[in-house]
């Protein structure tokens, strides 16, 4: 088993100490949080700053396809787009990763050979996470064996909401162990956690258990990444680093479709967690259609005229 940060050895000693710690976290001022997220969303980012933000956002995308209808052809097309997002402009950065189901990892890996783009795989009975632990572990091992560089796991929301934090903690630890050197992103599915207090608790629980990234959502439910819940998670990783020196990444996923939205999230990152997180190693967007909008904005900045959907690939 990987070791827990020493600062938290006593916290994870038993079910009750863990609960006491998580419930002892300060409550979230929902109105204040949403107000803060909204006010940071009003920043005006123009010209060179905008160009920088767009390129940064492109480099942070986990280009994702998680459909029942995924074919090897579609995954290869996505991989080609990740490596070379805008064939008309080779200065465009590559995306951070391609995110697929475990059975498509080998295809993606093959298609991305020789590039810097990583392969992320969802695992642990994504998106519901309703399977026994051995099944989840097998799912992870499968993805790792196929060559996944990153694992996106879902927590057991049922256990979390029932208050069985130790079960969630043990599961994350087990998955972390099975992931080996692959970076582990822990998905909370914030839309199902009901309260901001729960999102804060889940963030700390995930980080204590050894998550390399905490991620908002699967993109499969009604409410996905919002500025407010991402801001909350950014506060958590900032505080965690202050306390332990360990830096954890954040990945909002689902529902971020426009450049404007993406830039708002980058403002949140800069103003909350700080510049250390303004890097694809520490912040990611789980998205697919976002990339097209970023490319169109990029073309607009380069040429001065508005681009259109005819000038980006349809995927």
């Amino acid at each position: 088993m990987p070791t827990t940060a020493p600062a938290f050895a006593d916290v994870t000693a038993s079910d009750s100490t863990l609960r006491r710690f998580l419930h002892g976290l300060p409550g979230v001022d929902a109105v204040g949080l949403e107000g803060r997220a909204a006010s940071l969303g009003t920043r005006s980012i123009k010209t060179t700053a905008k160009a920088y933000a767009i390129d940064l956002a492109i480099s942070m995308i986990d280009l994702t396809t998680l459909e029942g209808a995924d074919t090897p052809g579609k995954v290869r097309a996505l991989a080609a787009k990740a490596v070379n997002p805008d064939p008309t402009d080779r200065t465009t950065p590559t995306t951070a990763a391609v995110c697929v189901y475990p059975d498509m990892v080998a295809t993606a890996k093959e298609a991305l050979k020789g590039s810097e783009v990583k392969v992320a795989s969802v695992a642990t009975a994504f998106p519901a996470g309703r399977a026994a632990l051995p099944v989840k572990i097998a799912d992870v091992r499968d993805a790792i064996a196929a060559g996944a560089d990153e694992i996106d796991m879902v927590i057991d929301r049922g256990a979390f909401l029932a208050g069985d934090y130790m079960k969630v903690y043990e599961e994350i630890r087990a998955v972390k162990e099975a992931s080996g050197s692959a970076r582990l992103k822990v998905i909370f599915e914030t839309g199902e956690l009901s309260t901001y207090d729960n999102i804060r608790r889940a963030s700390w629980l995930g980080m204590i258990a050894g998550a390399d990234f905490i991620k908002t959502s699967t993109g499969k439910v009604a409410v996905n990444a919002t500025p407010a819940n991402t801001l909350l998670m950014l506060q958590a990783v900032r505080d965690f680093k202050e306390q332990t020196g360990v830096q954890v990444g954040v990945k909002p996923a689902g529902g971020i479709r426009t450049s404007k939205d993406a830039i708002k999230f980058l403002v949140l990152v800069n103003e909350t967690a700080g510049e250390d997180w303004l890097d694809s190693h520490w912040f990611r967007f789980g998205a697919s259609s976002l990339l097209n909008d970023l490319l169109m904005q990029r073309q607009k900045l380069a040429t001065g005229r508005y681009s259109g959907p005819d000038y980006v690939t349809v995927d």
Binding site: G304, R305, Y306, S307, G308, P309, D310, Y311
Partner: protein, 295 residues
């Protein structure tokens, strides 16, 4: 007590995507009658309003171009019906904007309503006129059908603020295109009010988008926009028209050049066919080759 009510001023707004937003820029400008008397403040659109309007028009294109020609005709006729009910308002606005007498303005509004009826009748007939079966030297059916060009920017006439506007917008949407129209800069009130009529005529939001402001400022980004497929330059002066045509060449927009026009005359069909593309299909007739195989 004073004798009269306080007057209720109307806030003129843009019509974009079926909604009535103010300009994204928050700017307005003063509109006066030809003698310089203040009439209203109207939105001074920016290039971002133009961009939003193109997004709305593109979104509406699939539904509108896919609607049956018969259905489009019904909706255009509905617009005429709705205008008929609000005739007084339009007579007043046209009279003020263009400095016409009440009776002259009434004639103009009547003609504009009739123009909607004219194009309503044409929607399901134009395909027979400009399409058809072509004789070819081979065992094929060869069929040509007209299809809408796509998103079209219309620079509305500057002088004829209502009849002219209807005369340039109606044929473009009758053909199944969606429109971003730049209203007359000096007299935009009838165009902005027309948005209110369109919104209550079963015309899907985004099929017609009305922008008011400086013609040059709004038309330039629209002419250069890569997601606009055609541009009607009727309301652009010589210098601006040339500039816009050059910008429009970049993505090979279909361009309708300004020409002297009497809007009170019989409109004909040339504006209807200006933004139609011809699709030709070759289809085997059935008996193929020596084996006698057939589809």
């Amino acid at each position: 007590m004073s004798d009269g009510r306080l007057s209720v001023f109307k806030t003129y707004k843009l019509y974009v995507g079926g909604k009535f937003p103010r300009s994204e820029s928050g700017r307005v400008y003063e509109v006066t009658d030809p003698k310089g008397k203040w009439l209203a403040n109207v939105p001074l659109s920016s290039r971002k309003d133009a961009r939003d309007a193109v997004v709305a028009a593109r979104k509406a294109f699939g539904g509108w171009s896919g609607a049956t020609a018969y259905n489009r005709g019904q909706i255009l006729y509905r617009i005429a019906e709705m205008l008929e009910g609000r005739k007084d308002q339009f007579v007043r606005e046209v009279a003020q904007s263009e400095g016409l007498s009440k009776s002259k303005a009434a004639d103009v509004v009547d003609a504009a309503i009739d123009r909607w009826v004219w194009y309503a009748g044409w929607t399901d007939k134009i395909a027979q006129v400009v399409g058809g079966a072509n004789p070819v030297a081979g065992p094929f059916f060869n069929l040509s059908t007209p299809e809408p060009t796509g998103v079209v920017t219309v620079v509305a006439p500057q002088e004829s603020s209502f009849l002219g506007l209807v005369s340039v917008v109606a044929p473009v949407i009758a053909a199944g295109n969606t429109v971003v129209v730049v209203a007359s800069e000096r007299a935009p009130l009838p165009a902005l009010s027309l948005g209110e009529v369109l919104a209550t005529s079963d015309l899907p939001g985004g099929v017609v988008n009305v922008l008011s402001g400086r013609t040059g400022e709004i038309a330039a980004p629209l002419a250069a926009h890569q997601d606009v497929n055609g541009i009607d330059l009727t309301g652009a002066d010589e210098v601006l028209a040339k500039e816009l045509e050059v910008a429009a060449a970049d993505n090979l927009k279909r361009v309708f050049r300004p020409q002297a026009v009497d809007f009170s005359a019989d409109p004909g069909t040339h504006r209807l066919t200006a933004f139609l593309e011809t699709k030709t299909v070759w289809h085997p007739t059935g008996s193929l080759g020596a084996s006698g195989s057939a589809y």
